[in-house]
Amino acid sequence: MWKWIQRFSSPKYFYSMSAPLITWFSIAALLTGLYGLYLGLFVAPPDYQQGESYRIIFIHVPAAWMSLFIYMVMAVSAAIGIIWQIRLADMVAAASAPIGASFAFLALVTGALWGKPMWGAYWVWDARLTSELILLFLYLGYMALQSAIEDQRSADKASGLLAIVGVVNIPIIHYSVEWWNTLHQGATVAKFDKPSMHIDMLIPLLLMAVAFKLLYAALVLVRARNEALYRDRNRRWVRELIEKL
């Protein structure tokens, strides 16, 4: 079993197996995304309060979900890397961070754009936006630590530990920000989620969520492949690969 895991998690094996997956994930992401956008932008009915402007949630909400999801993936793979010394897991964690940070950034920008018509200002200290901003800071800290340590192995472990500490903290941060928000702004800020969402809105939202997941899968594979090539640049399998070119 252990041998089996080690074989399948070797960067060389991963590199040779992942190429076709990228194509499939990209195509699937594109199709789901286009269909989701079509349903979201043209088929779903306008909101009775917010008119057309609410349609940005089909980007905003899945992006926010993804930013949290990717942080979890990052922390779990970092833990696997630290505990079982699986290099591929470290590569996945390192490859995930910039993607997760981008999704967090996207969620913040779309949130601000949506805020303008809703609240009359691009930025209000809404609980979710604030949490999202802190999540972005956690990503940036992870990436800064990762790049500050020269030795690759320690960089992976150190930043991995930081990601795990971050995961323990996320619920606490989330809870405290939520609580802070209700104190200071109370019910004046409309909540993003609607308890009962129209099914025509829910379907494109879920489609977009699936599309983003597929997009992430494709992107993380591309980035992890690059990490594998870069980190193993002096190993035999990469050299053989280069000689074949």
Binding site: I82, G141, K157, A158, N169, V177
Partner: protein
């Protein structure tokens, strides 16, 4: 094991006392930063009172952050950290000793000087009491969580800014609840909830942070 804790604590305290001039620096910094705010606005007592909890807590955060350096830097530079890690005693106990010393040398003085700052910022006396309680519960968490960050960055050249980048987001819950407790208290409302939250976070940090710090130290030493 208790002996190991005690010996290391005493060693760190003794080292700090031999450098008395450095000892006061975080404290002076704390008072200085708080002093800057009234100078930057119109210092009416209402305005000051409104911003006091936030100003004092943010300054406390920064003061602790700047002092974190002395937690492991010296020991790392002169090799004593290696000897600590080669101790037959659990590394967690030693980490806890060092964090305790750090808190006694930076957190506790902040708590003691806080009433003076309450006076500066025209806080009512009930709020000052709560300020002391909240700092008493919150500053140990700052030391504990900070220890994780320092042990990850102690080997990085010019790791100071990096340290604040990775640690400050983790300090946010303490800031929110600490400042809010003082804020609410100056309106004369009960603050048991906030203080309980701070206590719960302290218990959590006390049980997990030394573990995370010792893992982080091993990662740093392995370089």
């Amino acid at each position: 094991m208790l002996k190991a804790y005690y010996h290391l604590l005493v060693r760190d305290l003794r080292l700090a006392l031999r450098n008395r001039h450095e000892l006061a620096n975080p404290l002076i910094f704390f008072v200085l930063v708080v002093t800057l705010f009234p100078l930057a606005v119109t210092p009416t007592s209402e305005a000051l009172r409104a911003m006091a909890p936030g100003v004092i807590w943010v300054s406390a955060l920064l003061a602790v952050l700047l002092s974190l350096d002395r937690l492991f830097k010296q020991d790392y530079d002169d090799g004593s950290l290696d000897q600590l890690m080669l101790s037959p005693n659990p590394l967690m106990i030693l980490v806890l000793a060092k964090v305790s010393a750090h808190w006694l040398l930076t957190g506790l003085p902040l708590v003691i000087i806080a009433p003076l700052l309450g006076l500066f910022m025209s806080l009512p006396s009930e709020a000052v009491t709560v300020l002391i309680y909240s700092l008493l519960l919150g500053t140990p968490v700052l030391s504990l969580v900070g220890a994780i960050g320092v042990s990850l960055t102690v080997a990085v050249n010019r790791g100071g800014v990096l340290l604040s980048l990775i640690i400050l987001p983790l300090y946010i819950p303490i800031l929110i609840f600490g400042a809010n407790a003082v804020d609410v208290a100056s309106d004369g409302l009960p603050v048991t909830g906030q203080l309980l939250f701070l206590g719960a976070v302290l218990a959590l940090a006390l049980s997990l942070a030394p573990l995370a710090t010792s893992v982080a130290l091993r990662i740093t030493a392995a370089r």
